[in-house]
Symmetry: C2
Subunit: 163 residues, 2 copies
């Protein structure tokens, strides 16, 4: 699968999360993104330094600005299970806007063509670091990092893409 | 690979963890277990309820008793990456004896024949819940759970196996 690119339709897929009552739920990406402007960003791993200290906090800090510019949903995806995603999300008590969704078996990440083989590093199959700007299921920006970089997929990069 | 059983030699494998200086380290199971009495227990996932609230706490609570009975190492393995294992281990500040080791790509879990396919539940390939009692690399007890059960692999079960 070629990596998702500008102009593509966002494929559908099912992700999971624990709701406010701590019940495991599944949600389709299309149900969140159809008819809306959304940001979908992906990280190689919960609790890893770049993801935890830079990538995620950037989107949390800029959430109000994104909303003022018409973004309806900000979604963080990682190839971690929903238990780990829940524990990781709890480390951001200030967060009200970023949804943490689990792609535990990397199924949706493969659908996006954004899988990253970190088996040799003992991390298994993960996701590339990326950020997508999606308007009614059409990809408007696809900022996909190479390797372990963090140069194009930040909240600021997506804000620039919205100008 | 048939699941590991009583009488087998414990295969070697490499697991990873963050040391006290927060540096990523790799360690071979044989370097920890050769010439020693060790308990090796495995869990389906960090931050999952049975693992977090029952399985792990049991071994932490009984650690002193295990040591008094000649156990040199108590090792917890999970198919999670070392970042997640570190974050999970921190939720047990009282723990001094149980080592949390990451088998992020499930390589060692496959070597033990204890892999568990939870892909349909969005959890990917994980480990069965198990506890092994190993004396100088010989398996003396192999308590391996079926499915999501927790009936034979507890700290108390291993204590009984040592009688």
């Amino acid at each position: 699968m070629a990596p998702i690119a500008v102009g593509d339709s966002l494929p559908d897929g099912t992700l999971s999360y624990f709701d406010a009552e701590d019940k495991l739920q599944q949600v389709s990406i299309h149900s969140l993104a159809a008819g809306k402007q959304v940001i979908l960003f992906g990280v190689p791993g919960a609790f890893t330094p770049t993801c935890s200290l830079k990538h995620v906090p950037g989107f949390i800090e800029k959430a109000a600005e994104f909303k003022s510019k018409g973004i309806n949903e900000i979604i963080c995806i990682s190839v971690n299970d929903p238990f780990v995603m829940k524990a990781w999300a709890k480390t951001y008590p200030e967060n009200k806007d970023v949804k943490f969704l689990a792609d535990g078996s990397a199924t949706y990440t493969h659908t996006l063509g954004l899988q990253l083989d970190l088996s040799e590093k003992g991390l298994g199959t993960r996701s590339k670091r990326f950020a997508l700007l999606v308007d009614n299921l059409k990809v408007k920006a696809a900022n996909i990092e190479q390797g372990g970089e963090f140069t194009v997929s930040s909240a600021d990069d997506i804000l620039k893409a919205m100008l």
